[in-house]
């Protein structure tokens, strides 16, 4: 009897061993996916964090001559700061220290501060992208001169400016308040962000009510039969159609046939709505199916009509699930690039779009465009835009979770 319940038999031990193995495989799978996630986030953060700051150079500008153009004032300020530079080639190099936009920055500062006129004032100007990268340590100064973007001469000037305290790093508000630019130091995310917001708004306004209505009709009212099966299969197929196909559809129908404005968030939103609709219908139907039939019976047994039953009892219970599905669909639409390329939302947009018919681009397309640009400084812009996109996605998912928790009712 000593052996009772104290098992030494082999098959049992093997069963336990396989269970342990199985658990460990699961843990490894989770650890691996978490690891990838961390690597991705860390690399994007380290690459992109630089874009949130900006290098500025202080120049003593002589605003005494009211007739002189801003461009000339900046030039003279540079030449007086470095009087030893005389040759034309070197002077041209010198002019590339501040951003190409320096004269406009001067205009802006003057407009904000009219008292400056007639004085000699020290003002801050955005540095050009190469100087910016140098200050952020992205340029390897140990390399020979011809293998890097900054010449020894420029390096010496920057060192001189640094010693004089004429170089500083500030928070890059311009990244969030301006549109795209050919100059990396001036390029901002706002035009793309607005484009995304406008497109998503169009997409939501169209696909959410349509999707919910379709889901309710199919689930609660339609007679089950060959037709409803046919429709269901097609909706499921539609959800799996590659997004670029929707882009082609938008190109030929919305742009080609209806002649809607090219590159506009209106068309982008329409295409995204087509793409999101099946997702919302499927999520909505499964949310409706999750409502216990006993609730429907109770309401119908009371003499409620089908519509009353649905609106008073079924929909409130299904809504959290429907909203979650819709937000997940929206999040997917936010990250969508391919269909937008097809309808021309891949343009270089400097102006911030304010209407759904303005030309616009979207965040993921902006990322694609920047990633494609040759300037070194666009690398950090790319990552920074990805950070903005991911932040938005996380925020949307958070909203989905909060909504679900808030409206979830037990039955």
């Amino acid at each position: 009897m000593t052996e009772f319940l104290i098992s030494a038999n082999k098959p049992l031990r093997r069963r336990h061993a396989s269970e342990t193995r199985f658990k460990w495989m699961g843990r490894i799978a989770i650890a691996a996916s978490l690891g990838f996630l961390v690597v991705m986030l860390v690399s994007i953060l380290t690459l992109g964090i630089g874009a949130f700051s900006r290098t500025e150079i202080a120049l003593a500008v002589d605003l005494g001559d009211g007739d002189a153009s801003s461009k000339k004032i900046v030039r003279n300020a540079l030449f007086t700061s470095f009087p030893e530079v005389t040759s034309r080639a070197e002077r041209r190099q010198l002019l590339r220290l501040p951003s190409a936009d320096a004269s406009r920055e001067l205009d802006r500062q003057l407009a904000e501060n009219p008292d400056l006129a007639g004085q000699v004032a020290t003002l801050w100007f955005t540095a050009s992208d190469d100087i910016d990268q140098l200050i952020k340590g992205a340029i390897d100064t140990d390399k020979p001169q011809d293998q890097r973007r900054i010449s020894d001469q420029e390096l010496a000037w920057v060192t001189q400016l640094q010693d004089l305290g004429q170089i500083r790093k500030v928070f890059n508000t311009g990244f969030f308040t301006s549109g795209d630019s050919r100059e990396p130091e001036l390029a901002g995310i706002l035009s793309a962000l607005m484009g995304s917001i406008l497109s998503l708004t169009v997409c939501f306004v169209l696909s959410f009510p349509l999707g919910i209505m379709a889901a309710i009709y199919l689930e609660e009212f339609a007679k089950k039969g060959r037709w409803s099966d046919f429709i269901e299969v097609n909706i499921n197929n539609l959800a799996a159609v590659p997004s670029i196909v929707f882009g082609l559809l938008g190109l030929s129908i919305f742009l080609g046939y209806f002649g809607m404005p090219r590159s506009s968030p209106l068309v982008g939103g329409l295409v995204l709505a087509l793409m999101t609709l099946p997702t919302i219908i499927i999520a909505g139907r499964s949310a409706l199916r999750g409502v216990p039939p006993s609730i429907r019976e109770a309401a119908l047994g009371m003499g409620a009509t089908q519509v009353q039953t649905t609106l008073h009892h079924v929909l409130p219970l299904a809504l959290p699930g429907m909203l979650t599905g819709a937000i997940v669909g929206m999040a997917r639409a936010l990250g969508e690039t391919a269909p937008l390329l097809m309808i021309g939302m891949v343009a270089f947009i400097v102006d911030i779009p304010t209407k759904i018919t303005d030309a616009a681009t979207s965040l993921p397309v902006q990322i694609f465009l920047w990633a494609d640009s040759p300037e070194r400084a666009f690398l950090e812009k790319t990552s920074a835009a990805i950070i903005v996109l991911i932040t938005l996605l996380v925020a949307m998912n958070l909203v989905a979770i909060i909504l679900r928790k808030k409206f979830e009712r037990r039955f």
């Binding site: 109770a298 047994g301 003499g303 009509t305 039955f411």
Partner: protein, 254 residues
């Protein structure tokens, strides 16, 4: 019998697709009495119950022939509005299914959709009366605005009964109303049923022959889609005419 029966079913056949679930049921349901429908699982008693308030309409493949008259009106006539019908024939289900709303809202829902409420005081009155009749008032009067799903199983079922009687139906159908409850809650429900028959006609489907014997005055025994036998409960249990009834109530089949 002095009063005419409230419901007369004549040759009722119910089909689910090709399958026939009820074979020519002819049955009278007397007024202000409890009629119990008994029989083994799948015998068609619930199907018959659900054809009295046309809940079978919800099943796409279901088809009903024959006639079921309530107060002389065939409920399967074209001009009968099923919403109106269900206001007169209430139903209580097997599993308590209160709406996930407050107790008050549960009770007032029926009167509200049927436009029976004229004022707020009216509503208050209906809620109190219905809950009193369902024997639930004293237990819930201080928490009318708490969720109905927070009650115990037996209380939930009585809330469902209160909800059904709030629209003042003539008939209440009960589909095994106590099968999900413990014996004490069951006893409370049975007492309530006995009380309710003064005002309403009640048809109850039950698996328990003891329950049928305790609460009902009339009993109908179903078997394989046939109505085998019906009559006064006492007589049916003491001297069944049909062999199948005999076998069932003595526990040999079912």
């Amino acid at each position: 019998m002095s009063k005419p029966p409230i419901i007369t079913a004549r040759d009722v056949n119910v089909f689910y697709g090709q399958k026939q679930a009820l074979n020519g049921i002819t049955l009278d349901i007397p007024r202000n009495k409890v009629t119990s429908l008994i029989g083994p699982s799948g015998c068609g008693k619930t199907t018959f119950l659900r054809s009295i308030n046309r809940m079978n309409d919800l099943v796409d493949i279901c088809r009903v022939t024959g006639e079921i008259k309530i107060e002389g009106k065939d409920i399967y006539d074209k001009d009968v509005d099923v919403v109106e019908l269900r206001a007169h024939v209430g139903m209580v289900f097997q599993k308590p299914n209160p709406f996930p709303k407050s107790i008050y809202d549960n009770v007032i829902y029926g009167p509200k959709i049927h436009g029976q409420i004229k004022s707020k005081a009216d509503a208050q009155e209906i809620v109190e009366q219905s809950l009193r009749r369902a024997g639930l008032w004293d237990e819930v009067k201080d928490r009318l605005h708490e969720s109905g799903t927070g009650l115990s199983g037996g209380q939930q079922q009585r809330l469902c009964i209160a909800r059904a009687i709030a629209v003042s139906p003539a008939v209440i159908l009960m589909d095994e109303p106590a099968s999900a409850l413990d014996p004490i809650a069951t006893a409370v429900i049975e007492e309530l049923i006995d009380e309710l028959r003064k005002k309403y006609t009640i048809i109850i489907v039950t698996h328990s022959m003891q329950q049928a014997a305790r609460v009902s005055q009339r009993t109908a025994f179903f078997h394989m889609g046939d109505l085998v036998e019906s009559g006064a409960t006492k007589e049916l249990f003491t001297s069944p005419q049909d062999e199948r009834t005999q076998n069932y109530i003595s526990g040999r089949i079912g």
